[in-house]
């Protein structure tokens, strides 16, 4: 085992521990909020939001490590309606004023890594909100070969032409474009029936459209 590998493992172990600690902290905060008077609940909301943001980022960090170091991700039966709900729940802690509609059929079913798909949706919703969208809808198309596509539509300004061309990754002043890269990584990690997952970006007449194909 070389030193770099040890270093990587160490970082991954700390990130994993951090993620669990943050989850515990979130749970404690949520329990605390329930017992407090309304005015204090409102004051505590930003704290919960920040904790959630750090937790999500840490989860991304852990997932990135796994995506880089795992030959094949674990996939299983999963329900897009639930995956979307979980992503929405997380995003609403962050952006409580945004309207997010889960239009996915409750009976839709797929075969994918639920946690990674949820992270991809959270990332895409966050991008939409940061681009100025106030309403987002989540949909899902099931295909005959048991693959499926998540569709995220918003009422924002739409993707910049350069992003659609692939010549740049972000239009945000402080943006790095890593969010979209992360989502692409998640899609590509989904392999099945000689197909690979992919992220497609487009604009429609109301805003931006992101399509996550998971074979």
């Amino acid at each position: 085992m070389n030193t770099d590998y040890k270093f990587e493992l160490l970082v991954a172990a700390y990130a994993h521990d951090l993620k669990n600690q943050l989850q515990a902290l979130t749970e404690q905060q949520e329990m605390l909020v329930v017992d407090l008077p309304k005015e204090y609940q409102l004051k505590l909301a930003p704290m919960i939001s920040h904790t959630n943001k750090i937790k999500e980022d840490t989860l991304r960090l852990v997932s990135l490590y796994r995506l880089e170091n795992t030959q094949q991700i674990n996939r299983d039966d999963a329900w897009p309606h639930d995956t979307a709900n979980q992503a929405i729940e997380s995003c609403l802690l962050q952006f409580p004023s945004i309207i997010i509609n889960n239009k996915i059929d409750n009976d839709s079913q797929g075969f994918y890594n639920d946690q990674l798909a949820q992270l991809a949706l959270v990332t895409l919703i966050t991008n939409s909100v940061q681009a100025g969208a106030t309403q987002i809808s989540l949909n899902c198309e099931e295909h005959d070969d048991d693959s499926l596509t998540f569709i995220i539509e918003d009422n924002g300004p739409g993707f910049n032409k350069a992003i659609l061309d692939g010549s740049i990754s972000t239009t945000k002043a402080a943006g790095t474009g890593l969010g979209l890269h992360f989502v692409k990584m998640i899609c590509k990690a989904h392999l099945g029936a000689n197909k690979q997952g992919k992220l497609s970006l487009s604009n429609n007449n109301t805003g931006a459209v992101a399509r996550l194909f998971l074979p």
Partner: protein
């Protein structure tokens, strides 16, 4: 959380042992268990024990809460697979949604699970096939259940079809394992190994693959490689009692006693509160560890000896009516004391073993061979010789005969002669003091070896004759004298012992005539 979701009669446990205690005492519809439960057991072991002991019927739910790092182990379990899992971190709503999904799937498979609980496996297979035909969305859970049932019914061809199709369509890890098992059972171990190794490339923490690799390698006679595979599995998942036992068994067979000793020690520790607790672990631990007691003066060796003796104490307390095990425990205690140069304690433990041995109804020959060995170890040559002689009169297998011969040779002839001589001296002392009965006893012991000297035999005859002259002639004693005279044979007239021999022979004849009247 569970009560917020509407559950009632909820019990909670802080570790795997407490969880198992609750499961043994109560019937549960749902068990929600973290994978990581602290030192003694993990969630997978709780599940295995709950199902193995029939405390959790197939219709009840067992759900594992896990982080991504244990997913390979949780998702890959083929024989005792959870009904579902929830990945951390999760919120209350996520838990609720996931539980609803798992319960819904379980309800749809209820008829098949009821058939499993009724042990009607053929009906369960039929019902699974029906579900597969009618409900495409249940393909994974129904196929998983069907595969297990077909393996149980040894229908490997059909199971292979199910798993192979899934590997093509879904590439799920448990289907690859199932496929490998079927291929192995159908007679192609090399191909099975290939699949298992390739599955491990994708899922390096999939311990069940290592278990099967070890099993297959062992069947191919590649026991050292099998040991390596199991050591890898244990490095990933060290809490499974059966896996530790298997490693111990293979390492012992390979002569790797350091690994064997450690594996059996872990099996004892992990098995203490488990349905897999076994007396074999205690005995095998002691057998492996006592061989390592090379240097009695060394602190590490002394600690090891104490560990063995503590394990044997625990065995005796926990299995007080299992005479076979009590016998072996005392024998191993004796061996341990022997190795620690404590002959007195070794003899005491051996004496305990003899008492237990006397209570055994049909002890195997092997037990006697072990006792002989212990007699030799504890310098009880007489007893060893007696038992060897007794064993020589009964029918033994080739292996047993060979072992007996080895023991016979091990029994040092010189030591026997020395001992015989000591007994002879004791007899002479008793004779000189006029204590004829004690003298006869001592001479009897001295003359029972084939190495007994002519002088000792003459002494024995003299003591018996003196006794008969003093009390009265005794037919049995005369017979014994005759046997000794035959053993002595003719003594040359020039031999210094001839006069004595002739005199004793004359008296013997006279007593014989007297008794004939």
């Amino acid at each position: 959380m569970a009560s917020i979701l509407g559950g009632d009669k909820i019990d909670s446990a802080t570790d795997g042992i407490e969880a198992m205690n609750l499961i043994h005492r109560h019937d549960y519809d749902i068990v929600l268990s973290d994978y990581n439960l602290g030192r003694a057991k993990d969630g997978q072991q709780v599940l295995e024990e709950a199902r193995f002991t029939n405390r959790l019927p197939a219709t009840s739910l067992f759900i594992v809460i896990t982080g991504e790092n244990a997913m390979d182990m949780v998702m890959g379990a083929l024989e005792y697979d959870p009904d579902g899992y929830i990945t951390k971190p999760y919120t209350l709503n996520m838990l609720k949604e996931r539980l609803i999904r798992i319960i819904t799937v379980k309800e749809k498979l209820r008829p098949a699970n009821e058939a499993i609980d009724a042990k009607d496996y053929n009906l369960a297979i039929k019902l699974c096939l029906q579900v597969l035909k009618e409900n495409k969305r249940l393909r994974l859970p129904a196929s998983r259940m069907l595969g297990q049932l077909l393996l149980k019914q040894k229908n490997f061809e059909q199971a292979l079809n199910i798993y192979s199709q899934l590997v093509i369509d879904r590439s799920v890890s448990w289907a690859k394992l199932g496929q490998a098992i079927c291929i192995y059972k159908l007679g192609d171990p090399e191909k099975a190994l290939e699949i298992l190794n390739s599955t491990l490339v994708d899922h390096p923490l999939y311990v069940q693959c290592y278990d099967w690799i070890a099993k297959i390698l062992l069947s191919l006679g590649r026991s050292e490689e099998a040991q390596t595979a199991l050591e890898k599995a244990i490095a990933i998942s060290p809490k499974a009692v059966l896996r530790q036992m298997e490693l111990g068994r293979i390492a012992y067979q390979n002569g790797d006693l350091v690994v064997a000793e450690n594996a059996f020690k872990n099996a004892i520790r992990l098995g203490r509160y488990s349905c897999h607790k076994s007396v074999k672990n205690y005995l095998q631990f002691a057998r492996s560890a006592q061989v390592l007691l090379k240097n009695p003066g060394d602190r590490t060796t002394q600690n090891k000896a104490s560990e063995i003796l503590r394990a044997m104490d625990e065995l005796k307390q926990d299995y007080p009516v299992d005479n076979d095990s009590l016998f072996f425990a005392s024998m191993l205690e004796s061996k341990t004391h022997t190795n620690m140069d404590n002959v007195k304690e070794a003899r005491r433990c051996l004496s305990d073993a003899e008492l237990v041995y006397a209570r055994l109804e049909n002890p195997e020959i092997e037990y006697q061979l072990q006792i002989v060995e212990a007699y030799i170890d504890t310098e009880q040559s007489v007893k060893a010789q007696q038992m060897i002689d007794a064993l020589k009169t009964i029918s033994l297998s080739a292996e047993q005969s060979s072992k007996l011969n080895d023991l016979d040779h091990a029994l040092n002839g010189e030591a026997l002669r020395r001992h015989s001589s000591q007994l002879n001296d004791e007899g002479v002392d008793h004779f000189q003091q006029g204590n004829l009965e004690a003298a006869i006893d001592a001479f009897d012991q001295a003359t029972q070896y084939e190495f007994a000297t002519t002088s000792a035999m003459l002494n024995s005859i003299q003591a018996k004759i003196a006794f008969m002259e003093k009390v009265k002639p005794n037919k049995d004693m005369l017979k014994e004298c005759r046997a000794l005279l035959i053993r002595i044979g003719e003594i040359d007239k020039n031999d210094e012992r001839f006069a004595r021999y002739a005199r004793l022979r004359k008296t013997y004849d006279r007593l014989g005539r007297a008794i004939a009247k």
